[in-house]
Every structure is written in structure tokens, then in C-alpha cells.
Symmetry: C2
Subunit: 235 residues, 2 copies
């Protein structure tokens, strides 16, 4: 994070230009995907010469990184907003709001979703700076689960039999953002979470074409079911 309020006029213009480059790059992403993202094409669209872009991003990969961070931040913000909107409510409405927010964002920005949750860009190594923004969405989910357990809304259910290694992994997740949530609930939570992204990817990447017509309805039904499963270990 840089200081949010640029002092000088030059710095302000610079920030605006940076944003504009990313904006155009996002449009290109939407048409040609990450692998087809080209600094030259972006520069062309902005009416500048390609080398000028290097004043703002040191390389193509750095621009890509900026887009990835922005994408994670955007889903994260959407999730957090849904979280705030349903702050006082129960586990189910909170979960439905969160899952819908993630899906809506994904549908509105399919290539950005693909960028962060689809196949990795070949030859690109995500730097450490992308980790923090990536955890924002997950944090909203874990908070919801934690609250649900604390409020007694989420039933623990029968204890699950897990290998020691898996118990350790689950313990790590509990330690990072889900205090007091028992193993059984966390395993269900993980299932529900991967189901969410599985459902979105399945829909967005075209595997439901010619099979399902009411995508909204099916998604809603799936998420209601998933919420019930999360809460009670049953649907």
C-alpha cells in the first residue's frame, strides 16, 4: 500500500494515469485473456507510445500483478460489503448474501475471476504481494462461520475421524481466522467453500451450457442447500 493521498499534482496525475492503464488493461483482459495481454496494445489504446507505459509498470508481469491484486481486492470488497449488509443476521442469510456477492462479481468480471480463480497464467509466478488481498474474501467467510458457531446456530454434529496431518491443517485454518470452530464444522466449511467456487467456475467456464437454463435459480438452490449443510451437517 502506498500513501493514499498523493501530495503533488505530478503524483496525482501519475496515480490517475496508472489507474487508466489498468482500466484499459482490464478491458483487454476481458477480450483476450491474461495470456493475450499486451503492453503495446494497451499503450496504443491510450494513444501513447509503448515505451511510455514503462514509466508506470516496469514490465508486463508487473502490470499483470497489479491486475491480480485489484481483482482480489474487488472480490474481497464485494464480499465485505455483503458481510456488512447482513452483519446482524443469521448464518443462512449471511451465507446467501456472501455467495451471491462472489458469484455476481464473477459474472460481472469473468476474465478477472478467471485470472485469479481459473488456470494459472503460464510462466507467471505470483509475488507475495498478492497473498494478502487474496485472503479478504476468505476472511469474510470464516467470520461468518465463527459467529455461527459462537451463536450456536451452527451445530457441531458428529465428530469426524481425521488423520493427524489433516487435523493439523484444519487447526492452522482455525488459528488464522476461525477461533473456536470445531474440526467437523471447518471441514464442512471447506466443502461448502470449494463448492461455491466449483459452481461459479462450472457456470462461467461453460460447463452448464445446453444443460441448465435457470442458472440463477439453480445457484440459489445450491447455496441454500450448502448453507443448510454447513449449519446442520444435513440438507
Amino acid at each position: 500500500m502506498e500513501s493514499s493521498a498523493p501530495r503533488t499534482a505530478r503524483a496525482r496525475v501519475r496515480a490517475e494515469m496508472s489507474a487508466e492503464i489498468k482500466e484499459v488493461a482490464r478491458r483487454h483482459l476481458a477480450e483476450d485473456g491474461a495470456a493475450g495481454l499486451s503492453l503495446r496494445a494497451v499503450a496504443r489504446d491510450l494513444g501513447m507510445v509503448s515505451s511510455a507505459v514503462y514509466r508506470y509498470f516496469a514490465s508486463r508481469d508487473e502490470l499483470l500483478t497489479a491486475l491480480i491484486i485489484d481483482a482480489f481486492d474487488a472480490v474481497g470488497a464485494a464480499a465485505e460489503q455483503a458481510g456488512r449488509r447482513t452483519a446482524g443476521e443469521g448464518t443462512m442469510p449471511r451465507w446467501l448474501a456472501l455467495s451471491a456477492a462472489v458469484r455476481d462479481w464473477a459474472r460481472r468480471h469473468p476474465q478477472e475471476y478467471a485470472l485469479v480463480y481459473g488456470s494459472p497464467v503460464p510462466g507467471y509466478q505470483a509475488p507475495a504481494a498478492t497473498i494478502d488481498p487474496a485472503t479478504r474474501v476468505t476472511a469474510v467467510f470464516l467470520a461468518l462461520v465463527t459467529d455461527g458457531v459462537a451463536a450456536g446456530e451452527i451445530a457441531t454434529g458428529a465428530a469426524v475421524r481425521l488423520p493427524r496431518t489433516v487435523r493439523a491443517d484444519v487447526g492452522f485454518i482455525r488459528a488464522t481466522g476461525a477461533p473456536g470452530v470445531p474440526d467437523a464444522v471447518l471441514v464442512r466449511a471447506l466443502a461448502v467453500w470449494t463448492q461455491l467456487f466449483g459452481a461459479i467456475s462450472y457456470e462461467l467456464f461453460g460447463h452448464l451450457n445446453n444443460v441448465v437454463t435457470d442458472l440463477d435459480g439453480l445457484f440459489a438452490a445450491q447455496m441454500r442447500q450448502a448453507g443448510a449443510f454447513l449449519m446442520a451437517g444435513a440438507a
Copy 2:
């Protein structure tokens, strides 16, 4: 599908050459991804001139299509083999074998998995010829569900409340490969199915790095849970 046994020697050599091109292309895929797949690079690796490849594939996209079909066929074959191996058994062992087979294949061929279940290749429109091979995996799953219901192993559970449009979609799925399976079970089945691909993608695309260490153990636990949910509407 072409005739499986090439008559003439020329046809045999041609088929071998075709296979060799795809083999090399698959290797390139594994390194550079679909967007980086280049006819020239493949030709170079085979010691031939780039234009010679056009004797076998009319364009880069046609080669990509062949790879996609092969990939779908490969997961399909792996799934069918798991299905045959567990043919007489119950729903749970069949499901565990199927899900493990799909995951194993995906881990052994990550770029091919990405090619068919990851982000779509920008600018590439999958032709109709890819649809049939794509349904093979799903067919194995639906057979398992159908058998489980017929054998009384899968409980229907409480009837679900679904919009008419979703009921129609579910009815279409039932008609194509799951005769006699009630709505409630089919909706659970869809959830379990998307969870499978969500879990594989999450793992393969790196979202569990630095979070989960025992990927095998977690996957197995998740799939046991998913199987129980499929069978009883609970875990």
C-alpha cells in the same frame, strides 16, 4: 470417430505421426499452457518444417480441439475404469473411486485439466465435436447415482422446494442419464459434483498452497463427507 484400423501403410504412418504431434503438443501445453501452444514450436521439436504440420492439422485451433477431445476422453476413460473396478460395490466406494480417479488424472495432467476445466482459451470456440467426449465422466457419475437410488442406498430425503424452471433443468438431466432419480437427490448430486471440481481446481491452481499440507488426506476426508451427503442428505 474414424475407422479404428488404418488399412494402408501410409494411413498407419499418418496416424502415428498425428499421435506424435499431439504428444509433443501436450508436452508444450504442460510448459506454456494453451495460449502459448505454437505449431512452429511443435514442428521444431519434431525436426520438421512448420508447414508440414498442416498436412495433419489444418490450423492451430484444430490441433487444440484434438487435444481437448483427447483430454476429455482421458478423464472419461479414467473415470470409466474406476467405474468398472467398483462395478458391483456400493455407492460410497464407487464415489470414492470415481472422485479419486478424476483427481489423480488431474494431478498427472494439470495443464490438460486446466485446458478443459479451467478458464476457457480466449478466442477459441469449442466445436460441437468436443461435447460427446465431455459427457463421459459425467455419465459415470450419473450411473452411480442412478444405481444408488435404485438400490435404495441413496435416501431421497425431504422433498426440496424448487422453482419450476430449475425443476425443468433437473428433469432434463434426469432424462439424459439419471432415470428415476428424484429432484432432491439430483440437486445434491450436482452439489457434490461441483464440489469435486471445485476441490480439484482449488488444489491444482494453488489456492491451498501454504494453507494445507496433507492434500491427499483433506481430499479423501472431503470426498467421504460428500459421499455421505449424497447418500443421506447429511454428513
